[in-house]
Every structure is written in C-alpha cells, then in structure tokens.
C-alpha cells in the first residue's frame, strides 16, 4: 500500500477542518502509533497484519494532516527497545520497513509532486545494512523537498538521541571546533537528529497508554500532550480533530510558558557569556568601564556564535555524507 493516499475530505470533514483552521493550528504533530498488536488480537488477525494496518493508517493520517495544513509529522515507528521482541516479530517489522521504503522509492514522482521530504531519525547503524541503504536512498532523494515533512523515528530512543548529541558536541570539542563552555540547551537541540525541525506543537499517543516511552523527551517539553484511548489502526479523522481541539484549548497557556522559558534561556546564555568574558580578562585585569565590558561581551558573543555556526556546518556535512555514502552503495542482498 502506498505512503500517500490521494483524495479529498468528505463534506462534513471539510466543514470540521475549516472550523478548526479558524483557530490556532499545530504546525508539527508527533504520533506514537500504539495499538497495532492489540488491534490484531481484537480482530483475530496475524500480528504482522496489525502492523500493516498500522502503516495504512499512517498514510491516511498524512492525508488528513495535509488537508489540515499540518506541514510536519513525526512518527515513532520502531524503538530501540523493540529489538527486545521475538526474532520473528523484529524480522517481520524489518521486512515491512524494507517493503515500505522500497515502495517509497517507487513513488518518488508522487513524492516530488507533493514535495514531501522524508527524514529517518535514529541510530540507523543498528539496522540491517540493506535497510540502511534503502532508507538512505529515500532520504537523499527527497532531501530538497520542502512543502511537507515526514520524520520517521526508526531504531530510536530519546536517551540515545540526547547522548548522541552530546557525543557530537564532544567531537566538536575534540577537534577544536567549539569549547566546552559553548555548550547550551540551544546547541544541544541543534545536535539532535531532529535539528532540522521545529519542536512538535502536539504529541498524540494512541491505545490508551499514558507514557512517553522515550520518544522526543527533549523536544516535547513544552508541547501539548494528548493521550487517546483509540487503537492506532482504528484512528479516525475525528480523533485527530479531538486532539487538535485539545491543542487549541491549551495553546495560550503553553505559548506563555514557552515564551517565558525562552526569555530565561536568553538570560542564562548572556550570563554564561559574561562569566566567560570575566574569566578571559582575569589575567589582564577587568576592563574598567562598562562600555569596554559591553564591547568585550559583544565581541565574545559574536565569536561564540560564529564558532558554533561553523561547528554546526561541519556536523551537517558529516551527517549528509553518512547518507550520501550509504545511498550510493549498491543495496546488499
């Protein structure tokens, strides 16, 4: 089945969509697509079939998001913890992923038409090599599309992602690109797998579980979190509307909290820069007048920003190279 379901909304759905769009709409929605196996048990079908239905539901949800002007969607497809499942189930999921990503490569024209950019986030070197190669081809082929974005978290956990970001910053420090004192929340965010995306506005988890299961823990600290009891393969347009209404009800208070947090961040960064300037001038004796102090601070800040930008460029280059190398390899069988 296809990644992209064509088709318009029906009359009622269109009315509902227009009403919702009169209010604040999330630009980036993240989904924990939980409940495939319970769905399969409920319908007396094969577990694998449950996962396939789950994938079909994803395609349908993307169509609804497109009609609701939700530009970016992130989904939790496979957690590193899921490797603990039986070999059969893991192999089945890898095979499903293979089929779906190969299908994606076949649908490249359609993806180009809708300008869909596919990104895959996770510790991809945990996956079988051929799957890595197929994924890389899909990512590289859609890299420059910029109308809608689908981020698939595969072989992902948030703790691994945060640790990887710290490792990247350590690599930057080791190579003299940045200093340890340059490390900040903002810099760490820029080193996550999701650095090309804004933080999700809305996080939805289906199947009634009320936990985050190591998904986007850093990025969703100020997101609206909605837990819904429906099983993922049974998700409807109306369930999505319900979650969006929840987002709209929370919008003002969450926005206020976000803005306040942002202000505190900026203040903390300024303080951190001041401390660094003070340390630098310890030997020379502090610049006496406040004008010189201000200049020194501005100069330090500008240098730090430039240093960080250069480091992030290098990091981007390293990551792009990882994907282009993989995608240029012949898929190993």
């Amino acid at each position: 089945m296809s990644w992209i379901k064509e088709g318009e909304l029906n009359f009622l759905e269109r009315i509902a969509a227009n009403i919702l769009k009169a209010g604040p709409m999330p630009k980036h929605v993240a989904f924990i697509m939980d409940g495939n196996r319970r769905f399969a048990r409920k319908k007396n079908m094969d577990r694998q079939e449950g996962h396939t239905q789950g994938f079909n539901k994803l395609a349908e949800t993307l169509r609804w998001c497109k009609h609701l002007d939700i530009q970016e969607v992130t989904v939790y497809a496979f957690s590193i913890e899921n490797f603990k499942r039986t070999k059969d189930e893991v192999d089945g999921l890898m095979e499903l992923a293979r089929q779906k990503f190969l299908r994606l490569l076949d649908e490249m024209d359609n993806l180009k038409k809708h300008e869909v950019c596919i990104r895959v986030l996770g510790d991809l070197n945990m996956l079988p090599l051929d799957l890595q190669q197929i994924i890389a081809k899909a990512v590289v082929a859609t890299k420059h599309h910029n109308k809608c974005f689908l981020n698939v978290c595969f072989a992902y956990t948030s703790r691994y992602e945060i640790t990887n970001a710290v490792r990247e910053m350590a690599w930057g420090v080791e190579n003299g690109l940045i200093k340890a004192s340059d490390i900040s929340e903002l810099l760490l965010s820029e080193c996550l797998y999701s650095n090309n995306s804004p933080n999700p506005d809305l996080l939805i988890r289906t199947s009634g579980e009320v936990r985050l299961s190591d998904f986007l823990l850093w990025q969703t600290s100020h997101s609206c979190v909605v837990f819904q009891a429906v099983l993922w393969p049974e998700y409807t347009f109306w369930n999505l509307c319900e979650a969006i209404i929840q987002y709209q009800l929370n919008h003002k208070s969450i926005q206020k909290a976000r803005d306040l947090y942002q202000e505190q961040q900026e203040f903390q960064q300024l303080e951190a820069d001041r401390i660094c300037v003070a340390e630098l001038h310890q030997g020379n004796g502090k610049p006496s007048d406040s004008k010189r102090q201000q200049e020194a601070l501005q100069q330090y800040t500008a240098c730090r920003i430039e240093r960080v930008q250069d480091f992030l460029q290098e990091l981007k280059h390293k990551r792009d190279l990882f994907f282009t190398d993989l995608s240029s390899q012949v898929v190993s069988t």
Binding site: L20, S158, Y160, V166, A170, E209, L212, W218, H222
Partner: protein, 284 residues
Amino acid sequence: MALLYGLLWRLLLVLVHVNRAFVCWLRARTRCFKGRLWERALASLLLPVAFTDFPVEQKKNHRNPDSKAVDADSPAERQALFLNDGKSLEKLPVHIGLLLVDEEPSYTDVANLVVWCLALGISHVSVYDDNGILQKNNSVLMHEITQLQRHLLGVEGSKVEFLSNGSEKHVVSCRPVVSVLSPEDGKQSIVQAAQQLCRSVENKEKSPKDISVSMLDSLLREFRNIPDPDLVLKLGPVDSTLGFLPWHIRLTEFISLSTHRNVSYEDLLGALHRYGACQQRLGK
C-alpha cells in the same frame, strides 16, 4: 466565509467547556450515588474523555467512608491505616512526581499531597512547577510539610530528607525523600553533564566514543540523585510536562487531576488505583 468559520470555532470551544463542566459535575455526582447507573451511562456517552481531566472532589463536610486514614483519631492509628491503604494498592510507585500546572501553588494542598504520599509508603516524592516558585519558597513548603506530618502522624512520624537546589544533593540515609524541583533540574542539568563530559574530552581524559547512555545517566544521578519517576500526577489544566525532568520521564505514567487546590485524599487514592492498572511492556 472566514468570519462564519471563526464564529463557529468560538462556539465549538464554548461547547467543549460546557461539556467538560457537565461531565465533571456528573462524575462527581455518580461518585456519591454509585447506584445511579443511568447517570454513569450518560457520562460515558458524552463527548470524549480526552476533554476532561479527572475532577477533584471538593472537600466536603460529611465523612466519606473511604477516608478512614485521614479522619482516624490518633496519629498511630492514622499511620497504620495509611500504610494499610498503601499495601492494598495494586502497585505503589517508588517515586511519584507532583507536577503543578496550576497558576499559583497552594502550599497547604501541596503539603497535603506530599504527606499523604509519604504516609502511604512512597519513598520519594518530588514537587515541580515550571516557574520555580516552589523552589524559591522551599522553606515555606518544608515548614507546611513538617507541621502536617507532626499533626497527622505525630512527632514520631518518619523523618524526611528534603532535596532542593543548593541543599545536600546526596541522599545517604534510607529515609523518604522530598525533592523540590524546577526546570533547572531538567534540560539545564543535562547541559551541565554534557559540559562536564566535554571538559574531560578537552583535557584528553575521555574520548567522544566513551560517551554512552549509561555514562550520561550516571552523571545526572551524581548531580541529583533522583530515581526515574514511576508516576507523575499532573495537577492543573495544562496538558504539557512544561520541562519536567525530560531525561527521567521516559517510562513515567502520567495521570491528570484538574487542580491541586482542595485536592482530597480520595483523589490521590483514585489516581494511585488508576496507576495500578497501567501495564508496561518495555518495548516487548
């Protein structure tokens, strides 16, 4: 046309608020009159549960038969009843987080929740608000908690370790712990750990390849020895974690109460019963 949709949207929000209030009222009523099946049926037929947090039952003058522990006559009796209530739960969290997303914290109500949790046998209770108000007024909260413990459980009631910014960070004893947290204990702690690791790399003591999830985890525990919360009780109308311990909450169950103001012991027990029903598969 846009104007019409705008008006319809405002109407929709009003309807949702009305629905929320009605379902809350209905739920509160069915709690008292458990036989009224028709009311419960009506409540479940109404719009999705997603719109309503579990309502907090306002403190009533009449005695509720479930609140034996709180209303018992002597501290010793109360202590025994609390522990009994704790043992009767399906499972008890080792660490419970009280996440305040209400506007202004009420120290008495927060202290109530903390003391009840400790009395039930929960060994680590943390309280958090995203403005850091509780941390700034840490001493007020500590005072309320100590007073309440003394009143409820007597002077012999279990002594508690208080952890907050600047206070003793390493818990040596096996006494129950109350942590007062703010956003600084969340992302900022992770950043501090990252800086420390990178300074080690700068000094050639470590290599980036050495940095692992367990290393980062251990370092964070060194900064503040907080176990991962098993349960977070979100108190208030905002549906967000608002920066609460992002690293630690990977497997935490979230249960919401509409507010912390005038929260009752029954509300806490209700939430703990719901927590008891949560099943974790841990990826499997």
